[in-house]
Amino acid sequence: MARASTAKPAKGAAKPTPAPASNRERPAEPVRYEASKDELMAFYREMLLIRRFEEKAGQLYGLGLIGGFCHLYIGQEAVAVGLQSALEVGKDSVITGYRDHGHMLAYGIAPKLIMAELTGREAGISRGKGGSMHMFSVEHKFYGGHGIVGAQVSLGTGLAFKHKYANDGGVAMAYFGDGASNQGQVYESFNMAELWKLPIIFVIENNQYAMGTSVNRSSAEDQLYKRGESFRIPGLQVDGMDVLAVRGAANTAVEWVRAGKGPILLELKTYRYRGHSMSDPAKYRSRDEVQAVRDKSDPIEHAKRDLEALGVTEADLKDLDKEIRKIVSEAADFAESSPEPGLAELYTDVLVDTY
């Protein structure tokens, strides 16, 4: 087809690849959020609720009341709390993987409905049909809870498409892990999201391990915030153990995305204290490594120090802890005493009608 005699090489084709465009617009460097005392108190409260909730879930698992696979969020609390504090419940959609309890609590979903789902009871938020890894709340625009590593990233891209299509002003936030960031569909999603300028915040929760595999043993580019660059998605690396740093980055990201500039990628550096799931012997890292993070970087202790600097007393925090423990133990009682789903539930929700 080409007319060889007259065809000219495309303009500039012979030139060397240009250096990465420095004139591409980039989000501003995030600044640590300056929270009022009340705001910080609210963040602290939510993080503590997640921590105590997860500790209780761990106990119930040990007692055999929670079966199967259960992944705790302990250590990562500042990520969900900091990021989702910048979103609007019911307007902005959130989707994540199987380590989902924290994201639900941070979106104001009732602890007892979550706990009853963990124990597989009728009163659970998915009527006992989803379990720990699969929970949903349409009302909150929380789209789950997904057990297949990486799948939620494409789904989140679809949510973002609808936000744009409906022009509803909402953004989608799609969380995934450092391990999930090696799934192919993540990059297929990146490409579509940027191509279509979708309002989505991709969030890599880099807790440094995918089960027993550390990031540098599985990732050619271990600076995960750069993973969007070749799709022209700007990335920011954030201290995920500092709730105010997280909130600061969230503001930057939300501003970028709401302004119609397309997706943005956040890499939150964080750490999980517990095993991957309840059945993980955690032989791939040392106790000292875990203890060092707990001692030096615990997000709740960090917020506590900030609160004390703002004049909050030890006694105030003790009262709060009591209140939270009460909420959590009520959730556990509820989850233990609700009945299992009826046998007929086996056949419901498979297709539109029963068949």
């Binding site: 696979f69 597989g120 049909k129 192919g184 027993g212 595999t213 789903p341 086996l346």
Partner: protein, 351 residues
Amino acid sequence: MSDITENPVETAEPTTRMNMIQAINSAMDVMMARDPDVIVMGEDVGYFGGVFRATAGLQKKYGKRRVFDTPITECGIIGVAVGMGAYGLRPVPEIQFADYIYPALDQLVSEAARLRYRSAGEFIAPMTVRSPFGGGIFGGQTHSQSPEGIFTHVSGVKTVIPSTPYDAKGLLIAAIEDNDPTIFFEPKRIYNGPFDGHYDRPARNWSAHPAGEVPEGYYRIPLGKANVVRAGQALTILCYGAMVHVVAATIEELGVDAEIIDLRTLVPLDIETIEASVKKTGRCMIVHEATRTSGFGAELSALVQERCFYHLEAPIERVTGFDTPYPHSLEWAYFPGPVRIAEALKKIMKE
């Protein structure tokens, strides 16, 4: 289960007590020692030794060049294994749970299963995909499924499912040596011991079972050869994987003189053994955990009907999982256990 004729080990080779995980580990160990082209890869199989410990110690023994961790990228894992195989290696990729094999389905179906045919035999995909499957461990919908019927439907792959440590090792060795892509589904509910379907009774391990005695060295069980685990006259029961033990315990309790056939490989299928048995007993029951519609039981039922129609004294019975996703709660209502098998037995013996 005293009168079950499990494979008596007729060899002078030294044997050891193994559970199914150890037997699978031993098969890979034996094959890696014999053939430098065998490599083992998958999520957490190297450094950590696999989430079920099936590859424990192999990286230490054979090095990172031959036993290594992959990123979480099932489609990629199987895709590279196809290329490795085409260029002469014999990869044994692990897909951590059968429920995660779906991202790799494209590479398995469109490439692995088709390479031999479309290259007129020039290129092959001699890989063995190991993957734990099946329910009974409270795994909910992403850790419990039995997708064997998807693979038996695809021409160009073999599907193998062992039911004992002895079989697991011999079949895995045969699968690795086989020049076709083979899906090797490991019934994880019986990794540690035969499961009789009574979840409320104490679990047993393999130490008392005859097929827990496994040769330490090399041996193979040919693909396409079923095992008659119990001879009987009243009816033929076709099953595989964990269900072999559930069925055996149930008929023992009920005192039914059933002939139990453990298929061991679904493709290729030992139809001759099945045909001979059903012609003898005149009744056929099929038991599997997988969902019913288009399950492998449907294929078995059609084959038996085609070959044994005039010998059948009752309609063929199927006891299977329900046509629903694998549930999180109500697992024991879903699992085709002793109660449902007993009901089906009553029905098929009444005719």
